[in-house]
């Protein structure tokens, strides 16, 4: 028991002797020491009635008693708070049993109304591996000292745990710093809010709302691409929060430099902080992930099955969870642990065949990535930007899809195979010299899923 608890317990014992029992039971029994900030002693009370009454009726008495224990206390704050913080919501089935009826299949909403954070995301269930280590440590650094990397920009493709990481960070900060105003929103919610504010003529309220936060977390900001007015709003919001040294966390599926239709001024601002990526988990991380998720949800699963799944499924954490779900249902159905054969049969439909993309599909994706018209790639044009993209495409086709040089040449506007070889070598050279190109290729690899 810490000191403030002890002090408060002692004071309660004294008060109990001084006032009538019903009075004590009604007003003091459910109070508890919450915190001490400087000279302010904070008392948790169960409701507003209680707060009001302690304040108007017992304030002097409590203060006098507190000062006997600690002379530094000069005022008291009463805060309405539930005492047992870790209250598990009772399952809906309980009532169902009595009534013999079936219940509506609710899912408990665990989104906190004030912060928008979903309480189910925490670091307890977060698996750290080489694929997300850097992002994880950046988040931890921010938890220790909000504002240290501002903004923190986390990117990575879908289903790799970006949302989990940033929400868990928000939840942890909410827990550690009670006074910080925290807000989590998706870019879509933000734009909806903005449109509503425009419609209701309450744009000032909108601005004030977002500008009042100490920690703003915005998910999936790639959706801002091409929305100029929204980007402007975000730009101003960003500047204000940044100037006030408020922590901002963004997530996106791409590096800011590759979000098409993102204004340069925003891009440069994002680069001012820390940009980290989350890549696909490797075998060890996949196996750790599977084990953690299975034990959390109490899904019986054998070691060899975990091993099989980890080596046969790649990447996406959401897919791994999906497979665990079907294993769970099958286990319940069969009333026994699944063998590796059962699992193989189960997931045969779930394993995505290795991607065989058509060459023109790849050309389209890459040229879109560089914002170049696809037709130009096939053209004879010698414009520098187009040539560069064309060379990258040739490199990718050769390196990752094993297409032969002559075929590549034929597919891309009937070029000679020596041109292709030359291009391939050129890109290799570029990559040695310019780390930016390596990063671009990595990005493309992620997009093309190779």
């Amino acid at each position: 028991m810490n000191t403030i608890d002890k002090i408060w317990k002692n004071i309660l014992t004294e008060i109990e002797l001084e006032i009538s029992k019903p009075n004590f039971n009604t007003w003091f029994k459910k109070t508890f020491a919450l915190n001490k900030e400087g000279g302010v002693f904070i008392i948790g009370v169960p409701n507003e009635f209680n707060k009001e009454w302690l304040h108007s009726k017992f304030h002097e008495m409590i203060l006098e008693k507190l000062q006997k224990y600690d002379e530094g206390i000069n005022s008291i704050e009463y805060r309405v708070k539930k005492q047992n913080l870790e209250k598990k919501p009772a399952p809906f089935e309980e009532e169902g049993k009595k009534n013999s009826g079936r219940t509506l299949p609710f899912e408990m909403n665990t989104v906190n109304k004030e912060t928008g954070l979903n309480e189910k995301y925490s670091f307890h269930s977060f698996v750290v591996g080489p694929f997300n280590e850097l992002a994880y440590s950046a988040a931890q650094a921010i938890i220790k000292k909000p504002g240290v990397y501002n903004p923190l920009f986390i990117y990575g493709s879908t289903g790799l745990g970006k949302t989990h990481l940033i929400q868990a960070t928000g939840n942890k900060i909410a827990q550690d710093y009670e006074n910080l105003k925290i807000f989590y929103t998706s870019s879509e919610k933000f734009s909806q809010d903005y449109v509503n504010a425009l419609k209701n003529n309450s744009i000032n309220a909108f601005k004030n709302k977002y500008r009042s936060y100490d920690l703003l977390i915005m998910d999936d900001i790639q959706f801002f691409s091409g929305k100029e007015k929204l980007q402007e709003e975000l730009f101003h919001l960003f500047n204000i929060l940044y100037d006030k040294e408020k922590q901002i966390i963004f997530s996106s599926d791409k590096h800011p430099n590759y979000i098409i239709g993102l204004e340069d001024r925003l891009r440069s601002r994002f680069s001012a902080g820390m940009i980290v990526d989350i890549t696909k988990p490797d075998y060890e991380s996949r196996s750790a992930l599977l084990k953690t998720k299975a034990s959390q949800r109490k899904i019986p699963i054998n070691e060899d099955v975990v091993d099989f799944l980890a080596s046969n499924l790649d990447g996406n954490i959401r897919d791994l969870e999906g497979i665990l779900n079907s294993i769970n249902i099958q286990t319940e159905l069969k009333q026994k642990k699944l063998s590796i054969q059962d699992v193989k049969a189960l997931i045969k439909n779930n394993i995505k065949p290795k991607k065989h993309l058509a060459v023109d599909e790849i050309i389209k994706i890459v040229s879109e990535f560089y914002n170049t018209e696809t037709e130009k790639i096939y053209d004879k044009t010698r414009k520098k930007e187009v040539v560069y993209v064309r060379q990258i495409i040739m490199y990718i086709l050769r390196e990752f899809f094993n297409v032969s040089y002559p075929t590549i040449g034929k597919e891309i506007g009937g070029r000679d195979h020596t041109t292709v070889i030359h291009s391939y070598e050129r890109v290799k050279e570029f990559m040695k010299e310019d780390p930016n190109i390596v990063q671009e290729i990595d990005q493309l690899k992620a997009i093309l899923d190779v």
Binding site: N25, T26, E48, F49, N50, W53, R102, L104, F106
Partner: protein
């Protein structure tokens, strides 16, 4: 304190607040009503520490002051003064003297200092709502709220805003009622969960009043201010279940029938239903009829057919007829529509032509 008041006005005020101060063993002081006279007004305050209310009544004040009286006694006196018109209240030491044309009585007072004050408004979100619409929203859903204390979150009415609509929701996890009410002007506020007991008090206190009220929404408390009444209730600190995802988006069977015919037949069905209130509903698409069966091993059994416009596959589904009876008063039109996706999925009940109201019932297991 000495005041002169119209009996009718005092009577009206007392009848609104009398249920608030229930018997309270741990803190008997809460069984009282605090009466305070200011300039030309008398304020009556009661609270049970869940809700608090203050009603202002215009009176003629001869001398200012305050008094704490037992509400039950005060109520009994006021109600039995018959046809008197004017009543005079006067505090002399710790006695309240009540004088009318015919009677004169004096009742004992309690020390005023021990009576709780009400929570004060701080920096709440303020919205203005017409009371009749507000009350209508609550009445449309409140019967579906859970009465058990196991899950306080759903022993409640959940109120939230969506653009210019205010949405009222209640559920006991077997059925769910949702009413959307359109309000003019800005109604943008964070969702609140109000305990069903408290909102029942709210309905009683404000019933029959037709004016616009200011609603103040705080973190733990909400406040309503009308011209003469101030009301405050504690809010439930929790999350309401994410109910929208369980509303079925499609259906395989749909039928529409006359509400009056269903009401009639359910009266009959009621006699034969078992202790689980279970009835079987069978659709007969080719006959254009819905058949209702109920059986009770002690009484016997019953079968009633109702004309219905049926679309889609025939379905057999078991329902709790009490859940249907509950919803009749809020079905405004003369016909009701039912739609089902599957006999194990929630059924959707609506009032035909009124998209603002939605009722879900979970079928029973056999």
């Amino acid at each position: 304190m000495k005041i002169e008041a119209h009996l009718e006005k005092i009577k009206d005020a007392i009848s609104r607040i009398q249920k608030v101060s229930a018997k309270n063993i741990s803190l008997p002081i809460l069984e009282n009503v605090l009466i305070t006279s200011g300039n030309n007004t008398l304020v009556l305050r009661t609270t049970n520490l869940h809700v608090g209310v203050e009603i202002t009544v215009p009176v003629k004040v001869i001398e200012k002051g305050e008094a704490l009286v037992k509400l039950e006694v005060f109520n009994a006196i006021i109600n039995n003064l018959g046809n008197e018109e004017v009543v005079i209240f006067e505090v002399i030491d710790n006695i309240l003297k009540i004088t009318t044309e015919k009677s004169e009585m004096s009742i004992n007072l309690f020390p005023v200092d021990d009576f709780p004050t009400l929570p004060k408004k701080e920096n709440e979100v303020e919205i203005k709502l017409p009371l009749p619409l507000f009350l209508d929203g609550i009445r449309s859903v409140i019967y579906a709220a859970s009465t058990s204390d196991i899950k306080p979150e759903i022993s409640s009415v959940y109120i939230y805003s969506d653009n210019n609509e205010v949405i009222f929701v209640s559920t006991d996890s077997f059925r769910l009622a949702e009413k959307r009410v359109v309000f003019e002007g800005n109604a943008d506020f964070p969702g609140i969960i109000i305990p069903v007991k408290n909102i029942n008090e709210f309905v009683k206190i404000f019933s029959g009043i037709d004016e616009e009220v200011s609603v103040f929404i705080g973190k733990n408390q909400f406040f309503v201010q009308s011209e003469n009444i101030f009301f405050t209730s504690r809010l439930i600190d929790g999350n309401y279940p994410d109910y929208k995802q369980i509303i079925p988006k499609e259906s395989k069977t749909e039928f529409v029938l006359l509400k009056e015919e269903l009401v009639q037949s359910l009266r009959l069905v009621n006699i034969f239903s078992d202790s689980f209130n279970q009835i079987l509903i069978k659709t007969k698409n080719k006959d254009g009829k819905v058949e209702i069966f109920s059986r009770n091993t002690d009484v016997g059994e019953n079968e009633t057919a109702i004309d219905a416009a049926i679309k889609g596959d025939d379905i057999d589904v078991y329902l709790n007829h009490k859940y249907l009876t509950d919803v009749f008063p809020v079905i405004g039109s003369d016909s009701m529509s039912f739609s089902f996706l599957d006999k194990n999925k929630a059924a959707v009940v609506r009032s035909v032509g009124d998209p603002s109201f939605l009722y879900l019932i979970m079928p029973m297991n056999r």
